[in-house]
């Protein structure tokens, strides 16, 4: 093995250790028996996982976050897929402008989107509600669906759809039988990113938090500011587990490699 290969191996291992170690520390702390977060831990216990289920706001907000993630993802797909299909094939300058506009939430500070949306939606009468949260989360999830679906669709030769239509298929049949199967990896990747973006979002959800609409990150922040126990570490471990499970399921269904190649 050459020296440069050894150096590359060392760098790669060091990089992964640097990335994974902080997460590993949080996971280990979630199993501590101590009443405070400190590393190394004095002993092992599952009591902080039990605490998650004892503290009602954690569970209520987890349910809200899951619902919100699903609603925002579905809405993003309903709006984003047609937009991506049209904009991918359009040639006008307007199409570029609209694409940039739809992707703009990616480049704006989330806290600005949250603050501005609170005032805008309150003026429209939606106020602090799940509907408002769903609208704003859809806005921030939309770019992920548009970006991934567009990337996949651009790689699909128009000839496939043209051939279907020449053979007599209607637009709807062409979409259902030809386009949809071809863009499915893009939809899956976009939906996954969209759900995880919504599920982890704090800055936007923060402004729409109430007893009925608090999401898990908002409750975690409120808890952390005035409580010192490691239940947040336990909750983070469960969230990590959820993300890993989502990725594994996506991999089994569509193949992570196919998704990443497509995007």
């Amino acid at each position: 093995m050459r020296l440069s290969d050894i150096a590359l191996w060392v760098f790669t291992i060091a990089f992964f250790v640097f990335m994974i170690l902080p997460i590993a520390v949080v996971v280990v702390i979630s199993f501590t028996e101590a009443g405070y977060a400190a590393f190394p831990i004095p002993g092992w216990s599952l009591k902080w996982f039990a605490r998650i289920f004892e503290y009602e706001p954690f569970i209520d907000s987890l349910i809200t976050s899951l619902w919100l993630g699903v609603v925002a993802t579905v809405a993003s797909c309903l709006l984003g897929i047609p937009a991506a299909l049209y904009l991918s094939r359009a040639r006008s300058g307007w199409a570029t402008a609209i694409t940039t506009f739809l992707l703009s939430p990616l480049s704006m500070p989330m806290i600005v989107i949250g603050f501005a949306s609170l005032f805008f939606l309150s003026a429209l009468g939606f106020g602090v509600s799940f509907l408002s949260l769903a609208i704003v989360h859809t806005v921030i999830c939309l770019p992920y669906v548009i970006r991934t679906v567009s990337a996949v669709y651009r790689a699909v030769p128009p000839a496939y759809e043209e051939a279907a239509m020449i053979l007599g298929a209607s637009r709807l049949t062409t979409f259902r039988e030809v386009t949809l199967p071809l863009i499915r990896p893009g939809i899956a990747a976009g939906s996954l990113f969209s759900f995880l973006t919504s599920f982890d979002n704090l800055p936007v959800s923060y402004f729409f938090g109430s007893a009925q609409t608090n999401t898990l990150p908002v409750v975690m922040l409120a808890y952390m500011e005035h409580q010192f126990d490691p239940s947040i570490a336990a909750l983070s471990t469960l969230q990590l587990l959820l993300a890993v499970v989502a990725l594994v399921v996506a991999d089994r269904l569509y193949g992570i490699e196919k998704m990443t190649v497509a995007t």
Binding site: P57, S129, G209, S210, A211, Q212, T213, M224, H226
Partner: protein, 346 residues
């Protein structure tokens, strides 16, 4: 498009589900009060000490919204005619801001009989549109296993940290209350005032090689637990909470000059439900406050409260704490932050 039975049921179901989830925009409703609380033990104490007696006496119900003052104030500002919250828990500086913005109702003893037991200066500090109900004091928390002779005053703290005897963990400017319980308090102790913060920045320049900064209260504890710092500037109540959780190696000192009182204010937004007055009166009740103090290890403001023996030895008496001039600090806060960013940077 024709609307067949299946499509009608599907559309109706989806709409109902969405509206059901939304609960429609949150509004102050007749028999339900929307109150606020910080998370964790705070929320549980609010439910136990204030919400439960309120519900018992009025027959109304209250929902508790978790979060923070900036979030709640923004929500009220966005809908001042129909505020989504009926009672706000506020930091003193935002309480002043909300009062100056004419977003809050006046507090009077006619509406709140228990207000007569709260020192007038706390209501004045909220410009008459709120009052303080709970307070902590910022002082010196130290690791007993390392620091056998802790500094007893802010001046002593500065000297001994400057000389390298201790590594101190102090709050960074990214933590909201820093300008009050650290900057103002230390500056005040060293002879400065709101319009002259040179003593504070000179002290920081002297200590700079022996300081680490905490961005959130949990960081401070980690600094002490990991040995990164020996002592630092922290709150009395939080220190006692750590002790009660089994951390037997930390202790707290209120500096001789007096630490800054960091209070928690309560306010009622204009146009919020009148039921809020009943709830607020429960918050100011001596018995309820005593119970609240026992859970949180913080002082409370009703002068009729009698603390348990354990808590009496922990709570910093009101007379030994300094009430910061929050309205004056709000006027110069941006200048202080700008100077901090230029000279300290953390």
């Amino acid at each position: 498009m024709t609307m067949n039975r299946r499509r009608f049921l599907g559309t109706t179901g989806a709409t109902t589900a969405l509206l059901g989830l939304s609960g429609l925009p949150l509004r102050a409703q007749g028999g339900t009060l929307n109150v606020t609380a910080y998370g964790g033990v705070w929320e549980q104490a609010i439910r136990e000490c204030f919400v439960a007696p309120f519900e018992e006496k009025t027959g109304a119900s209250a929902t508790v919204s978790l979060g923070g003052p900036a979030q709640w104030l923004a929500q009220v500002e966005a809908s001042p005619e129909q505020p989504p919250l009926d009672v706000l828990i506020m930091s003193p500086d935002l309480a002043v801001l909300a009062a100056e913005g004419d977003l809050m109702d006046d507090f009077t003893t006619e509406k709140l009989p228990n207000l007569q037991y709260i020192p007038q200066e706390f209501t004045d500090a909220c410009l008459g549109k709120g009052t303080y109900f709970d307070y902590g004091v910022g002082g010196i928390t130290y690791n007993k296993q390392i620091v056998s002779e802790p500094p007893r005053s802010f001046a002593d703290f500065v000297e001994r940290v400057s000389s390298g005897e201790f590594i101190a963990s102090v709050p960074s400017i990214s933590y909201g209350p820093t300008t009050v319980f650290f900057l103002w308090a230390l500056n005040n102790a060293l002879g400065g005032d709101v319009d002259n913060v040179d003593p504070f920045f000179e002290a920081m320049a002297k200590m700079k090689d022996n300081l680490v900064f905490w961005a959130g209260p949990n960081d401070f504890f980690n600094h002490l637990a990991s040995g990164e710092a020996d002592l630092g500037i922290y709150f009395d109540g939080r220190t006692w909470n750590h002790v009660d959780e089994g951390v037997d190696w930390i202790d707290f000192i209120n500096p001789e000059e007096g630490g800054a009182m960091t209070a928690v204010a309560i306010q009622k937004p204009k146009n919020a439900s009148d039921l809020a007055w009943d709830y607020l009166n429960e918050v100011l009740d001596a018995g309820n406050q005593a119970k609240f103090a026992e859970i949180l290890n913080y002082g409370v403001t009703n002068t009729q409260v009698e603390y348990s023996e354990k808590l009496a030895s922990r709570v910093t008496p009101l007379a030994e704490a300094n009430l910061p001039p929050y309205a004056d600090i709000a006027r110069v806060r941006n200048e202080w932050i700008d100077r901090w960013n230029r000279e300290i940077g953390m």
